[in-house]
């Protein structure tokens, strides 16, 4: 590739070369090195089969779930700068976010709709994986990790639902946690553990908040990483095992 002198000087410099350990990716070697020498790109193999790239095989649903998760983390952190998880302050801070924080309402909208979308997309992804038979060996374990990811996603949505502390959230969580109380033997204990008492209260709010911003997102990051790693270790997408169409 013909490059002008200053650019060449830059890309040959000691600093640049400490960042990027490959040349301009216009040839097979540098394209390979681009993928293998970058921690994020390294999730992918150097080459992938055309079959696994076909859009109507995976519909990109797994990637979309991960993107939505990224949007949720980003907007969620912005909301955390203002939100206070106390029974007295939660609702007023929500109002404040909507009325006086620049782009506050918009950020909250993004967070809310991304959460709904993520639940939907994860369910669709599971259906796609099932109907393409991609849970078959050697991918059984990754399917099981997927089931846990589905439960974590539902848990993250459900715990977030309480945080605005309005009528909608209060009664939805009351109905939801009442169901836990119906479990045989352990029901009442489970419900009390979830609520931190016998009804939705300050204890519940702080428990749901901690689950929502720390425990569940951390578990999701961990398991999504394992999930991606397993996709590679299991030989890429199951589409690779399908007989050639031609």
């Amino acid at each position: 590739m013909a490059q002008s002198k200053p650019i060449e000087r830059l890309t040959q410099s000691r600093v640049w070369r400490s960042f990027f350990r490959h040349g301009w990716p216009d040839n097979p070697l540098d394209r390979s090195l681009t993928m293998t020498s970058n921690i994020f790109f390294h999730l992918h193999p150097v080459k992938v089969s055309r079959k696994s790239l076909r859009w109507n095989y995976s519909f990109g649903l797994g990637i979309m779930a991960a993107i939505l998760y990224g949007v949720l983390v980003f907007t969620g952190i912005l909301l955390m700068f203002y939100y206070v998880p106390s029974v007295e302050r939660a609702y007023p801070t929500m109002k404040e976010i909507q009325l006086s924080v620049p782009l506050g309402q918009f950020t909250r909208n993004m967070h809310r709709w991304a959460a709904h979308a993520m639940v939907l997309v994860v369910i669709l992804h599971m259906a796609r994986v099932f109907y393409t038979g991609a849970y078959k060996p050697p991918r059984e374990f990754n399917w099981v990790i997927g089931v846990i990811l589905l439960l974590l996603t539902l848990g993250a949505s459900f715990t977030g639902y309480l945080l605005p502390w309005d009528q909608l959230s209060y009664w939805a969580i009351t109905v939801g946690t009442n169901i836990a109380g119906y479990a045989p033997v352990a029901g009442p204990v489970m419900r009390e553990l979830l609520l931190g008492g016998t009804e939705v209260s300050q204890n519940t709010l702080i428990r749901f908040y901690t689950l929502h911003i720390a425990l569940l997102p951390a578990s999701l990051v961990l398991l999504i990483s394992v999930h991606f790693w397993r996709v590679r270790k299991d030989g890429g997408l199951a589409a690779n095992e399908a007989p050639d169409a031609e």
Partner: protein, 256 residues
Amino acid sequence: MTNELSANEEIFPKGTNKSYAIVELVRGDGPMVGKGPEKTVFSFPVVLLWEVLLLLGVTLALFLFSLIKQAPLDAIANPQVTTDPAKAPWYFVGLQELLEHMHPTLAGIIIPGILVLFLVSLPYLDHSRTHAGVWFSTRRGKRITVWTALYTAIAMIAFIALDNAFSMRESLRGVAPPWVAQWLLPALILAVIVLIPVVVLRRKGASTREVMIALFTVMLASAVVLTISGFLFRGPGFEMFPPWNMPDGYNPWNDF
């Protein structure tokens, strides 16, 4: 002497980036013929471009939706005043619909527990490697999916509508002990709905994969029917109303 050196240099050139060489060419029809590198593409930049496109598409869609639809915020929580109806978010409203038809332990704990167990054990029950990576596996698999979905939709709609019209709970009061209406009958009805496709398929000599397709489809289609019923057809008091006849001032879309 000079000749020898240049030949050497040609075979082992110095200062190139080349890390590969042609060793030999073969003609043949071994297992790798036709599956060679020509069926693959470099991840850079193809895969990354796909991902950037998806990223832009998803964010743009969220962006536009967030511009036109505001996240709901109701009045401040008040433990003294119950909302009517107290509805779960859409992904749990199917469960809430199920609760209307049977004992809460059955609908809220046992059935979801069975579903999670089914999902987790699924790849260990169906462990054949054949037909992986193909939508519906075979043509027959596709037909099974479509017919099972249709059958389940009809069966579940009938179950919800009939139980709503002639509530088992009410009509059996005093006739049979409560556990018959709350546990035995609903569990039996659901078991029959689930088992009919399994029995039919087994008789036709279906494979494990095909039975799994039927079971998964029963689960998914039931979830869809229950969710639609709970979301669109339940109004004040979680009573059944057709969406076109919803009481004024109540719109299920308001706060999903």
